[in-house]
């Protein structure tokens, strides 16, 4: 059980996360933690903007935003299917956008995603991890589902309610 001890460190992570006052402050912490625990090279959190029908994500520093379409790629597929996606052979996955790799020179070897739901069961974001040493497995999927749910309250509070009021 790779994740057996992780659940203990989650509480510590949760404490640090809730010290963050805004979504932008919290995102790098969530990414860093997910990457370390799952043992992946990259982590991105795509925040779903329902009005504009797009996702945005930030570069490592949490400031600059990149906009991604909601109807393309594995992140779009996650939104559509409302469930985690595992692609251990992304170049042979019909929804993988290899042109992004081509443009950046980065080589994606494997990907896992999980949707993040609000209290109303709407998708507020998608968590994506890239390049684990071995293939992503079912244990990783279970952890992703748990973790996406664990951070969803923070995301909903900072992205929806603290903005609206």
């Amino acid at each position: 059980m790779k994740y057996a001890n992780t659940y203990h460190s989650l509480a510590q992570f949760g404490r640090e996360l809730l010290e963050k006052k805004s979504l932008e402050d919290g995102l790098p912490l969530i990414s860093e933690y997910a990457k370390t625990v799952i043992g992946a090279q990259r982590c991105s959190i795509f925040i779903h903007d329902r009005e504009k029908q797009e996702f945005w994500t930030t570069i490592a520093d949490g400031v600059d935003k990149i906009v991604v379409p909601t109807d393309k790629g594995l992140v779009g597929l996650t939104l559509h299917d409302k469930k985690p996606i595992v692609a251990n052979d992304p170049y042979n996955h019909p929804d993988f956008m290899s042109e992004v790799d081509k443009a950046t020179g980065f080589v994606t070897r494997n990907i896992i995603t999980a949707p993040i739901f609000t209290s109303k069961r709407e998708i507020i974001g998608v968590l994506e991890l890239i390049n684990k040493n071995e293939d992503f497995n079912n244990e990783d999927v279970r952890f992703m589902i748990f973790f996406a749910h664990y951070v969803s309250g923070f995301l909903e509070l900072t992205n929806v309610y603290l903005k609206k009021h």
């Binding site: 748990f146 309610y161 603290l162």
Partner: protein
């Protein structure tokens, strides 16, 4: 401070707690404050024994009911919040609990708490909102709140069962 900033402050405190009793206690205090209710019980789903139990309900001690009993059981079964502003006219209402405790329920709001697998792991029950009836605003606030605390609660429940 508006209620969502207040929830953010509450969240920090919640994260410092490690055991179930204190966690449930803090959640119920905050839930009451959010909607101005007099009492709060948090029912935990026990799938093995097919029942819902509370640790310590306000003023009444431990309550154990069947998964399908009362308005709380119905919340579990339907996976949906319930507003009941006239409990004594509601056939689902368990009047014998009032009789036993000597407390009179005037109105009730219940919301399911989902775990990461989207199964109901608990139900928050609020009783007797001061002066007014429970309304849609209370329901929205508590639905958000139930999701907000669900990660911590799931973690605490997992650790208790390990």
């Amino acid at each position: 401070m508006n209620k969502f900033n207040q929830i953010a402050e509450f969240g920090k405190e919640l994260m410092t707690l490690k055991d179930m009793d204190n966690t449930l206690d803090l959640i119920s205090t905050e839930a009451k404050r959010l909607v101005n209710a007099e009492r709060c019980s948090i029912f935990i789903v026990d799938n093995e024994d097919q029942m819902l139990w509370t640790k310590l309900s306000d003023g009444i001690g431990r309550i154990v009911i069947g998964l399908d009993s009362g308005i709380v059981g119905d919340t579990y079964g339907k996976k949906e919040p319930q507003i009941v502003n006239n409990p004594y006219e509601d056939s689902r209402f368990l009047a014998h609990i009032d009789k036993k405790s000597g407390y009179e329920t005037k109105n009730m709001l219940t919301v399911p708490i989902f775990n990461s697998k989207q199964a109901v792991m608990g139900v928050i029950q609020l009783l007797n909102k001061s002066r007014f009836d429970f309304d849609e605003d209370d329901l929205e606030t508590l639905t958000f709140f139930a999701n907000y605390v669900s990660g911590s609660l799931e973690l605490v429940l997992m650790q208790e069962s390990l």
